[in-house]
Structure formats: C-alpha cells, structure tokens
Symmetry: D2
Subunit: 389 residues, 4 copies
Amino acid sequence: MTKQPIGVGMVGHAFMGRVHSQAWRSVGAFFDLPVTPVLSAVAGRSADRVAAAAATLGWAAAETDWKELIRRDDVQIVDICTPGDTHAEIALAALAAGKHVICEKPLANTVAEAEAMAAAAHDAAARGVRSMVAFNYRRVPAIAMARRLVADGRLGEIRHVRAQYLQDWIVDPEFPLVWRLRKERAGSGALGDIGAHIVDTAQFVLGDLLTGVSAITETFIGERPLAEGSAGLSGGAGGAERGPVTVDDAALFLGRFAGGALASFEATRFASGRKNAMRIEVNGSLGSLAFDFEAMNELSFHDHTLPAAEAGFRRILMTEPGHPYAGAWWPPGHGLGYEHTFTHEVKDFLEAVAAGEDPRPSFGDGLRVQRVLEAVTVSAADGSRWTAI
Amino acid sequence: MTKQPIGVGMVGHAFMGRVHSQAWRSVGAFFDLPVTPVLSAVAGRSADRVAAAAATLGWAAAETDWKELIRRDDVQIVDICTPGDTHAEIALAALAAGKHVICEKPLANTVAEAEAMAAAAHDAAARGVRSMVAFNYRRVPAIAMARRLVADGRLGEIRHVRAQYLQDWIVDPEFPLVWRLRKERAGSGALGDIGAHIVDTAQFVLGDLLTGVSAITETFIGERPLAEGSAGLSGGAGGAERGPVTVDDAALFLGRFAGGALASFEATRFASGRKNAMRIEVNGSLGSLAFDFEAMNELSFHDHTLPAAEAGFRRILMTEPGHPYAGAWWPPGHGLGYEHTFTHEVKDFLEAVAAGEDPRPSFGDGLRVQRVLEAVTVSAADGSRWTAI
Amino acid sequence: MTKQPIGVGMVGHAFMGRVHSQAWRSVGAFFDLPVTPVLSAVAGRSADRVAAAAATLGWAAAETDWKELIRRDDVQIVDICTPGDTHAEIALAALAAGKHVICEKPLANTVAEAEAMAAAAHDAAARGVRSMVAFNYRRVPAIAMARRLVADGRLGEIRHVRAQYLQDWIVDPEFPLVWRLRKERAGSGALGDIGAHIVDTAQFVLGDLLTGVSAITETFIGERPLAEGSAGLSGGAGGAERGPVTVDDAALFLGRFAGGALASFEATRFASGRKNAMRIEVNGSLGSLAFDFEAMNELSFHDHTLPAAEAGFRRILMTEPGHPYAGAWWPPGHGLGYEHTFTHEVKDFLEAVAAGEDPRPSFGDGLRVQRVLEAVTVSAADGSRWTAI
Amino acid sequence: MTKQPIGVGMVGHAFMGRVHSQAWRSVGAFFDLPVTPVLSAVAGRSADRVAAAAATLGWAAAETDWKELIRRDDVQIVDICTPGDTHAEIALAALAAGKHVICEKPLANTVAEAEAMAAAAHDAAARGVRSMVAFNYRRVPAIAMARRLVADGRLGEIRHVRAQYLQDWIVDPEFPLVWRLRKERAGSGALGDIGAHIVDTAQFVLGDLLTGVSAITETFIGERPLAEGSAGLSGGAGGAERGPVTVDDAALFLGRFAGGALASFEATRFASGRKNAMRIEVNGSLGSLAFDFEAMNELSFHDHTLPAAEAGFRRILMTEPGHPYAGAWWPPGHGLGYEHTFTHEVKDFLEAVAAGEDPRPSFGDGLRVQRVLEAVTVSAADGSRWTAI
C-alpha cells in the first residue's frame, strides 16, 4: 500500500531554502500523508553552490535555471524561496505549466504583481492546480490554537489586537547594505518582511479583515556599508563604500477590523534585545490571548468567564495531543522549534493537493496582505491619513 | 531639633483621597523630611461622609466647602483629589490664596483650563508658592530607574517607545454609567484617565517631548445602566434605566518624539484579564527597557553592549538600596506596592517646598500632557490626520 | 459610635519594629476594626535611640526597660520585635501580666523555651489573654488564597511540596559577623530565620503537619569580620578582626506530611541573585500551585480538571475584591507590598482579641515549627538520619 | 570531495527510535560532518511493525533480530533505543563485534550491568571502538552554555544546586501499568527514567561529582489497570484487571558535591501541570544560573559581579551564533525543539568517532550516574541514612 510520490522542485536555497528542505525531508516521518514528497530538484544561479546545496539539503538534482526546474517531469510542486522581486515571474510560469506552487511571503513586492498572481492562481485552481503563500506562522501550534479559540467564540467579541514583530539585527549602523535593505530586491523593509507576517497572523487569528490603517514609517540609518555579495541576514564585514538604505527600518500602524476590533501593529529591526519577537495579543469580551514567538511553545489564555478570584493568564504548553499539529511529535512538554512551522505547512499543502482542495493562505490571502502593506505606505506618505483597504 | 510642621488640606476622599492620606500619614516614618506634614483637614460635600473619612483616614478636621479648607490657617498645602472638572477652580483659588498645591491628574479636562492653571502656577512660583501635578507613576522606583538609565545614556539613541495602559473594569456592558464614563465630569475616558499616565511616563522616561500624533478612539458600549450615585471605580448594581457613555472606551495613537523616537500608545478599559497593566518598552541603540506595573517591583533591562551570547533582558528587582526611593524601605526583595508611589510623591513635593524649588511634574508638564490628549482627540476626529502638538 | 481603643506597646524598633509600627499606624484606615489600636509606647535599650524611634515611628512614649513597658496601663498588647534569645522572657512576663502578646518568629531559640511559651499561652488563653507568633507570610494574600484552594479540595490529594527561601545577603565573605550569624543571639542561621517561615507556610497551606525530616546543613564561610555594633541585616564596613560564624549558612531537608505528601525544603543566604525568594510549589492530584514572594502579588494555579489542551499555570493577580485581604485596599492590579502582610496580621490579631478568640498562628503553632527545626538539626548532625517530629 | 559514509543500525523504534531517526536523517544537512551517516537498518521484534517503521523513519532495511543487525556489514554504529533491561546484552555484543555504540539512558538497570558495560567500553576504546550513553540534555544549548559558564569561572565557587525533573503523565490512577512502571523492564521509576537525567546534567554542568546522598522515595498509586501491550508513554485505555506498580513514582534526595556544593534533587511523575520540567538552578559566589526545559531556548544567568542596582537574572535566548550548536541552525530568536538535542548528540558522536576520540558522556559516566541512583535506593530503604557514592 505504497503512497503516490509527488515531486518537489525548489527555487532558491538560502535561509528559506534550508528550512523548506528540512520540512520536505521530515514531513513524511511524522505525518501520515496521502502522498509521498520526493525532493526532485533545486534551482540556483551558481552551478557550484546549487550542487553543494542539493547534496547537503537532500535534493536529487540541481538546476541553474528555474525555468528548467519547472519543466522537469519529476516536479509537480514548485516551492519558491527566492527574494520577493522574482516571485511573480516564477509563480506565473509554474502555474501556467500546471505545477502546484508554494511561494514564500510576501507574495510579491507590489500590489500589481500580487493581483496578477492571485488571478493566475484562481484560474489555475479551476484546472486543479493549487497554490499557497507561505505564511508559516499560521502553523505555529499556538497560533493555530489561538485561531481555534477565537473561532469557537471563547474570546467573545474581539475588541483589541496588538501585534508586533520586533528584531534587532540591524541596530548597528555598520551592518552592511544586504539585499533586504534594498527596495528593488525586497520591495520594502521591516514592513514587507516581518510586518506582512503580523498582518496575516492577525487576520488569520481573528478570521476577520483589516478595513483601514493609519501609519508612520522610518528609516533610522540612511546609509550603510556596501555588502560584498548578497548575504541575506548575515552581512559579513562591510567595506568602506556606502550606499543608501532604500527601505523602511520600522513601520507602525493603527487599524480597524471589519468586526469592530481596534488594532496596533509594529514591525521593526531596531528593537535591541528582541531577536524574533513576533507577538500578538487579542482581547475580547470573554477572554484574551497573548503569544510571543520567542517562547513559541507557549500560549497565554485568559478565560474571562471564570470567577475573577481564579482568573488569570494561563501559560498553556502547546505540546498536548489535542493541540494543532502537536500530536504528531513528542510527548507533552517536549517542545518544537522554528522549523516545524514549515513541516506543518508542507503537510497541509500536500493534504490539500491530494484532496483537490485549495490550501490556505491562498494567493488571494497574500494579495490581501499586500493591499494592507500598500495602504500603510500610502498613509505614511500622506500624513498618516486614514487609508481604506 | 524638631522639624517645622506644615499643614495639609485635602479635597476629596474617595479612591485618590484614601491613597493620598496614607502617603501623608506614612511619609515621615520612612523619609528624613525637612518638614513634618500635619493632616490638618479634609473637605467633602457630605458632612457625614467627610467626617467619617477624616476619622478613618487620620485628618484632624473636616470641611464641607473646599473654599473653607483653603482659607484655614493650618493649611499650607492643598491636595486636590477630586474629578477633573473641579481641578482648575480649586487650584486657582488655592494658588491665589498662597497655598502650595498638589493636584491629581489629568491636570484639567480641557487645554484652556490647563493653560490657566499653568499660568497661575508660574505666577505663584514667583511668589514662592509651589505646585505639582500628581503623575504618581514617575515615582515607581522602576520608572525612576528607567529615567536614570536613559539619562545616563545607557540606552543610546532612543528608537522606539511602546506604551500601553490596559484595564478591564468595564468589559461587562452591564457595568453602570459611573462618573468616569461621563464627559462632563471626567473630560474623557481611557484617554484622560490612563492615557495621560503613559504620555507623561513616556515623556519623563525619555526626557523628551512628543511632537505629533495620529490617533483612533472608540466607544465600544454606547449605553450603560445609570449608576445609583457616583460610585467611582466600583459601580454597584446598575438600574434598569440607561444613559449614553460620552467618553472613549479606548484610545490608540502613534507619535514621534523630538529626538526621533517612534512611539505607539494604547489606553483601554477593555483588555480582559489586564487589571492595571501600565506597560512601557523603550528600545535604543545601546539597550532596551521594559516595565509592567502589574509587576511593579521589576524592571527589565537589556544591555546591548554586552557580548551577544551573554545578553538578554534582565529582571532587576527594584528593591536595592541603590534604587530610587527603595533604600528608605525594606531589605532587598521585600517589595513595595501601589501606595508607595504616592508616598514618594509627597516626599519629593515636601522637599521641594522646603527647599524653595519647583517640584516636577509641574502644572506646565501637566499642560503639556493635556496638549497631547487634545491632539489625540483632534486627530481621531479628523481621519487620523497627523496632528502636531 | 467610636470604637474602643486598645493600647499597644512594642519592644524593639529595628527592622521588625519599623514594619510593625507601619502596620499598627495604618490598619485602622483600611479595615473596619472592632477596636482602635493606639501606639502607646515603644521600648529599646538606648534612651536616645528609642526616643528618636518613637518620634519617627509614631509611638506616644518611649521606654528603656521592656518591663516598664509591660507594666504600663495604656498597654494591653505587647508586640515583641527583638532577636529570638529574648522572646521567651518578654513573652512570659507579658502573658503573666495579662497582656496580649504578638511575638516575632521564630518563637524562640530552643524547643524548651518554645514549650514554656506555648504552655504559658495556653494558660493565658484560659484567662482571656491572647497570643500569636508573627509568621507574617500567612497573610500574603497569595498564601492565604493557596490555603483556601487546598482547603476547598481544589488540589485534590497533595503529593508534593517544594519550599525554598533563598537570599544572598551574605554571599560576600567580607560581610561582617552581625547578630544573625551568632548562635547565642539568633539560635540558628538560615534555618531559624527563613527556614522557619517556609516550614510554617507549608504546614499552613497544606493544613497538615510534617512528621519527619532528613537534613543537611552547612556553614560556607567559617569566619567573618567582627561587626561594629549589632547592625541587623546591613553590616556596614567590617573591621580587621574576625570571629567565627556559629550558625548555619544553609539548611536543606526532605520531609513527609501526615497526609502523605513528600516535601523538600531549602533555606539559604547564599543564592546569588535571589533577594527574598520565598517560594512554594504544591502539586496535588487535581491541581497545583506555585508562589514566589519576589512576585508577591501573583499566585500561579493549575487546574488539572480542565481539558489538557486548555490547562496551564495561570497567573492570578492577587488584587481582586474576592481575594484574602485585597478588598480593603486598591482596585484590581494595584499591588501590595511586603509591609501589608503585617497590616493584615495585626488586623487579624485585633479581631481575634476583640472577639475573644485565639488568633493563629498560636504559640503552639510556633512550637510545632520549632520542633521541626530541632529535628532538622538533629538529623543533620546524625548522618541525615530520618528524624520523627 | 565526498565524505566517507558510516552505517548506522538502530535497535528499537518507539519514542526514542523516532527521535534518533530524525537526528540521523537531519544531522548532515546542518553540520559539516567528517563522515556521512547512512541509515542502514533498524531492528524490532515484529516484522510488520519494524518494516513499517523503516519505511516511515527512513531506514534502508529492517531486521527482527538485533543480533543480525549487529552482524551487518553496512552497520558500523549500533544505536540502542530499547528499554533498560536489554541495554547490557546488546551493547556488549555490539562492542564485541567492533561496532561503535550509542546507548539510551539509563545505561543499565543495575550497577552490575553498568559496570560490565563500562569495562567493555574501556576495552573497546583501546581497539578504537567508541561508545556513548545518550544523556541528550547535555546537548541542549542552554545546558552546554551553563557548563561553559561554570567552567569559565563565571559562577565562582558553587554553593547550591537544585535540580528537578517534574512530569505529570501518571497522576491519573487509571493510567495503565505500562512497561515504565514495571521494575523488571524499567529498573526503576521516576528515579531511573528522569532522575538519571538531572543527576547527569548536574554533574555535567558543575564538572563535579556527587559524593553522597540522603533520599526518600514513594509509590503513590500501588496498583494500576493492566496495559494492553507495552505502550510506552501513552497507555491507551486500561482494562479491568490490575497489577502492582513495582517502581517509584517519585524520588527526592539531598546530595553533596566533591567541591562543596549542596544539592537537592527531585524526580516525579506526579507534578500536575508540569509536563517536562527538567529544571536546574545553580548558585555560586559570583553568579547564578536557572533553566527549565519547558522553555528550552532560554537560559537565566545572574552576574553577581555587576553593581547590585543593575543586576538580575537575564533571560538569554539561546539562539545566537556564539551559543553551543546554535550557529548551525537559524537566525537569532528562531528557536530549537526537543529533537535537536539528539541531532547535536549524534553530531558530537560522529565527530568523535571520526577523530578517534572517546565521546562523552561515556559508559563510565553512565555508570557513575547508576551508582548515584543505587545510593538513592539504598538510602531511601535505610531511613534516609547518608550514603556515600
């Protein structure tokens, strides 16, 4: 009773490529999947480096042209792990070729690109071709549990959301001008890289959409040493020459949800001491939630219906069999790590593909996030004026 | 070598009056003061209740007219603990009578009143008459320590402030329409009551001023049962009749400081499970701070100049002899409570009065906060438009 | 409708005297007492110092001989705040004189003294004379709440207790030889000073008694600089001469409760970074509790009867009207401090005296603790042999 | 430049087998190893189940007899993941066959077996055959960092260790009699299963050995429903028939280290709400450490040499490049999970094998732990009498 194999081809093999590879390699050992993913090929621009990556990360073949990768018969799924400026072209080509697509976030660098991608995904779905944007934080067990509690009405009417994504990796003005700090590659700075995550997470947890925002953005350090090469998160030693930072260092915005909740968002890479503090708090008429990715195995839940003398935020360790995804892993108290959010993601993607269903978050969801980011940019450029989405 | 006595007269004897009384009664036992405060008289509208309050709270006499209280020869200090709509009239009268004034926050319900008060305080200071607005949180040891660390340059250039004041006492729609929910008495809702605190605290900790804001406000529950009497925080059982809530339930705003820091503020009474979460986080180029009044004896400090492998937010118990105010109390680890912030406040006030110096926060500082609140209101009413202060 | 006054005389005015004074001064402003405590007189050996203390702490008169204090007609309650070696003599005299007695812990320095005191208290009670040993931690709201939860069966059968009292004030070998480090004054070291607290607290919370222990004790620093004077907790600069430390620096013991619970106790002054970490955890078949005095306004409670996916330790802020003692103070979230445990203590003591009831913890309870400490000493000296109590 | 492959054969494929498999599969993608592990074969008693496990977990072949597995030419490393009663026989056979051995903990069920294993390992090492006992917690980055801090003298003289391993999976008396509750399979209960971990961890962190203990043990629930099959941690529904629990439910012991530190240990499966709380605190003259596996990505460190006003326990997120093992994984703040401790373990094992060095913890280290457990059992049976190791 062997399962149908399904070939995966991955484009890009840097930070995201490494973690996606681990997910594809591991998912079958923990989840009883309807199909068996096969790591067919990985694509990268440098022949040497992509060959080394294939060997290290477990891919059977290496390609230097992503178009060739898409063309391969042993590739039914294209996994896009490149910077945002290439997402649209690759995704559109893959969908046109009838390949299922999982694409890293943000979906694109512009709303126009995202619109084209969402439209293509919609058409492809009619032909049985699936697509998903990789907002992996939806698959943190605590976030999935938060969604469940809200959906079950345990929080009552939602009044407040405060979401922050705080990092500190460019606090040092000598940190070099890596691609994530250049608008032409990254589209935006903290806003698109990490702000996108908290927008998607907040909309996911609430099961509701933002209707407008008021925003401010800032670039604290205007010039940085030029990076040697495109080194992703770790810049290495910068040289003497400097170039302009063309993205935001921080973005703050207020928002309102269709259901009436007020929201506050903050994305920054200048919060010294906060390494990956993806935090969200939700307050409702019947309860509240709090989460911080730096303690990703914990969800804080306050049940406001308990007697006041016994109520308080309880720290739920998200490792119980009854928690989302957790039952596939270890006994209670034996926590998961960052990489497992991707394992959960590809598990859900494979199940949807096998079932002939559209996985979420869809490209349409990704477009929705993109529209929020666009509204933030517009508002920030126009005196924080309230901007509808 | 007995110390000069100085008579205190207090107006109002509800929540604030109780805690101020405890401060006046206790301060001399812990701090070596230049003068000895004497609890001369308390004023309240009901003869019975004010007499009972005087007996319970330790005041030598009771008055039913605050004008009589000001007139008393044994009153050199007037302590105003009434709702905001009465502050201006009482304070102006007291200052005119040459009495030192300590006035609860917010300084007034309108900028116009606050301007008049600040002007009167300025004139009075020239005659040796002192005044202070009672933003007690400045005297939380952790907040005073935070101010010291910032002033000493330990945080470097300040990039971010996020300040929240979260309560939940009116989450229940059946909570009655107490005076704090009526604009004519309270001036505003969460904004003036608790938002004022975080604005003052943030400006104090940074030693910097907000230059503009963008805001949204909301009233979640438009009507509430009429309260029987004016019951302050605890409303008792509401009746069948209902009246309109005329203040904000929540106010959120973004801001910028003169020195370049970005800020996010939120004041709400709808954060289920948060009882008195006056929280502030500050991120700078060399370090960060975090504080939550629900754990008032702790300050979190991250020293970004330490090697990364050893750095992290450290929980400093604010009970060391070297901490602000703490040396006067108990051995390390034996914490303080809410009331002690007031004891510290009157200690500093008495020292300033005795030294012939102007205590802080001044009425001018209170006016400054009032202008911020006004800008918030203006911005919220005008599509979150950026509003200079 | 004035209340009956009741005169208090306090012996000793150092650390404990200061905090007891604050309690006697403040209790009437917050609790509706059946009698009104009057701070009649304080006794101390130095005429100058006791006079200064009386003035600062609010006592109407000063005595240099505690026997005179007991003799005074305006003293109905004798409050003993001196080192342990004097407790028995003063308490026996006071009881003999028909005065109610509240005595600091540990009740005495030896079991023999404690037995005499418990016997005298028993006899006195028959004559309507009340006594109490001042284990103030029973009046931390969180500890009283813990007791209530256990008594209500919310934890089910108790399986485990782990209690620690961790301080660090003598980690430095140059800290001088203060009276608390000398057996003839203090009786024992960490064991009697802070170990006594966790023994009493554990027995109180469980409503159960220890039946045996196995122990080890240690003195890490054998000699210390001689202190100039008897400086209590703060030793000041030590001189060149040294003397032997004659008490334990740390005591660890295992125990069993009559009801079957296993227990682990640790008292030490060598836990660097722990300032006053009086910690207790209790695990039962239906739930668990955790408490740390360094966060005294919080109680952690795990309800094991909830669905596993929703269960976890919840942080209950002990400031709700329904919490022990808390309703007398401030609104929710406005915490209490160390001193309030004493205010609660004298409140309960005064109510018991007025009601003609025996307050708890009684001298008998104090004796029971003393027997545990004695068993610890015996076991530690005899190869950790199990020693029944 | 391909690396030398090295074949691994694993015995057992339940809980431990699953996590070891993930480690062997993943290690090469993250660490630059001197050899390439090949998952050659897995052994299990049931042909069906072991074949299924091989397919799921990625092993090339399946064996139903572990002796066959040892005999295979493509197996150079034998990984023992079976219950403790089989460790000695398998390990001795594997070593005799010249295969490197990594063996789950506890090393054996008796000291005699452990002695034989340590002797065989010693002899094998002389022939270049390596062995290791799998105390995986040594490879938690925070524990490895704790060891480094102690070894570097950052804690000064160690005074105190308190180590606890708290679980709650058998609180329910209806939980069935799984193999871990039967002495003939498991050797002991909480003591050997989880107590062994904290003994090894404490000795590792301190770089010091326990010299004696005083202990108590208890079995709270004497009889349990018979399990259907041997279900490991999850018992499934128990039947009507009952059998005796023949191991301890909890073990508590005090100890002394050679270097003078006092220690307290507790291992229990009855701590409701604690899921996998492997906790250790260390106090020294210059600093302190605290760790809880339930928050495995955090280490608390107090530097006692800092000014008191700035000192406190700092929460170090163990995800910096400078932290043990962490640099191989993700950017700062992107945490690891339980399984990664095993990945680190096999990485260190493979490096030692390739380098011709003896990996640690050795079978000798495992024997040392076994002697401590034995002393605990002896002391508990003999009135907690101090028992040298």
